[in-house]
Amino acid sequence: MTHEAIREHLALFAMGGLESDESEAIALHLVSCLQCQRDLGQYQETLGDLDLAMTEPDWAGHQEMRQMFQSRLPNVTPLVETPKASIRTIRRSRGRWGWPAAWAATLLVAFGGWSVAYRAHQEVTQSQRIMAYVTTGRPVSLVSVHAPRAQVDLYLNSSHAVVWVKNLAPLSENQVYEGWWIIKGRPEPAGTFGRGATLLTYPRNATAFAITKEPRGGTKRPTTPILVLGTLQ
């Protein structure tokens, strides 16, 4: 989608009135386009005013729901390190080095180090994608009755998902976490990862997502008990 086409769609995006694949394209564009960020902010402010005007505060059930919420609070820690923060770090480091970094990149390319420069670019792009998917995705909490302090979130978009491991049973040196999409009752490998945020491909027919510990490199079928699980539909 071009910049102009995206601007045409921003009002709809602000309302959540787009199909999910269109929303993803816009979310990715927004990461790097200040003008569209500004326009979106204005739409959101107008819609927020509209919602405020149309909403009568409703305090029914406040005390009971408050108690339920508070009782779960100690088990879930907030994201102190956000994906946005990590992107800022990358951008700031580029800005601080300025021309020397640009020259270094040029020299790296000139002397065959293009793969290093390419990898740096890919890391920034990947962080931007993860941030976009976390921002626009539907969050799903993965839970375990055996490990109530486990904390893993999954953010679902139309064709991608971000799995974010914040607190989970520790891995030994030769282990990784492996994700499993449950499709028609059978586990299909979703990818391997460690702590932090990882981008995955999301098959829309998956009904649940689970994580196990597996040998480095991953396996085709789970070989250890499920650590956490979440239903998707």
């Binding site: 009135g17 902010g41 959101q44 927020g48 509209l50 149309m54 879930v76 820690t77 102190v80």
Partner: protein
């Protein structure tokens, strides 16, 4: 218009994992979030689940909030809207007949009738915004209502109205921009 420093301090404390700050936030904004979610989702149990989801998202993502970009209430209602729409779509609420039944609701009446209720007039801010909405051309107001208040996609509305998606998108954008300009002018005059 920006909110005072106090709510922003509360957000920073939440981002650092301060549970007292989170519960103070919950107490402050519960009425707003509950009012919004229960207005959009008619099933009380489902609406209450979404209310809790909204506050969980605040707890997890307070660090993402940027006061330079949006007021807390705007950010919070953006989250609430997103969670409500997710839930409605997961419930596959496709039956337009159900919606027609609700068109006699206070909200729909306000949007569609030419009069604004006397109860609303008591609240100047609400009245001002509802009046701006009333003054939109009916096709633009209708699209805004279908998408923003019912959680429809542009495609669903286009199919229902038997017009192109492009028409729906244009109506919506024009309506929203018009609304924004009216509200800006009125705010400047105030």
């Amino acid at each position: 218009m920006r909110e005072s420093a106090e709510p922003n301090d509360m957000m920073r404390a939440i981002a650092m994992g301060n549970e007292d700050a989170m519960m103070a936030f919950y107490d402050t904004y519960f009425g707003l979030v509950a009012g919004f979610c229960r207005k959009m989702i008619y099933d009380r149990g489902t609406a209450d689940e979404v209310i809790q989801d909204v506050f969980w998202q605040v707890w997890r993502q307070a660090g993402v909030y940027d006061p330079a970009r949006a007021k807390i209430s705007t950010w919070l209602l953006t989250i609430a809207r997103s969670r409500v729409i997710d839930r409605l779509r997961r419930l596959k609420r496709q039956d337009w007949l159900v919606v027609e039944e609700h068109e006699g609701s206070e909200l729909a009446e306000t949007l569609r009738s030419n009069e604004v209720g006397s109860a609303v007039e008591a609240n100047f801010e609400r009245h001002r915004i509802r009046q701006a909405l009333q003054n939109l051309p009916p096709p633009q107001r209708d699209v805004l209502y279908r998408i923003h208040f019912e959680g429809r996609t542009a495609k669903e509305v286009a199919d229902h109205e038997s017009v192109s998606i492009g028409t729906i998108k244009t109506r919506l954008r024009l309506g929203l921009e018009k609304l924004r300009k009216v509200l800006e002018v009125q705010a400047d005059d105030a």
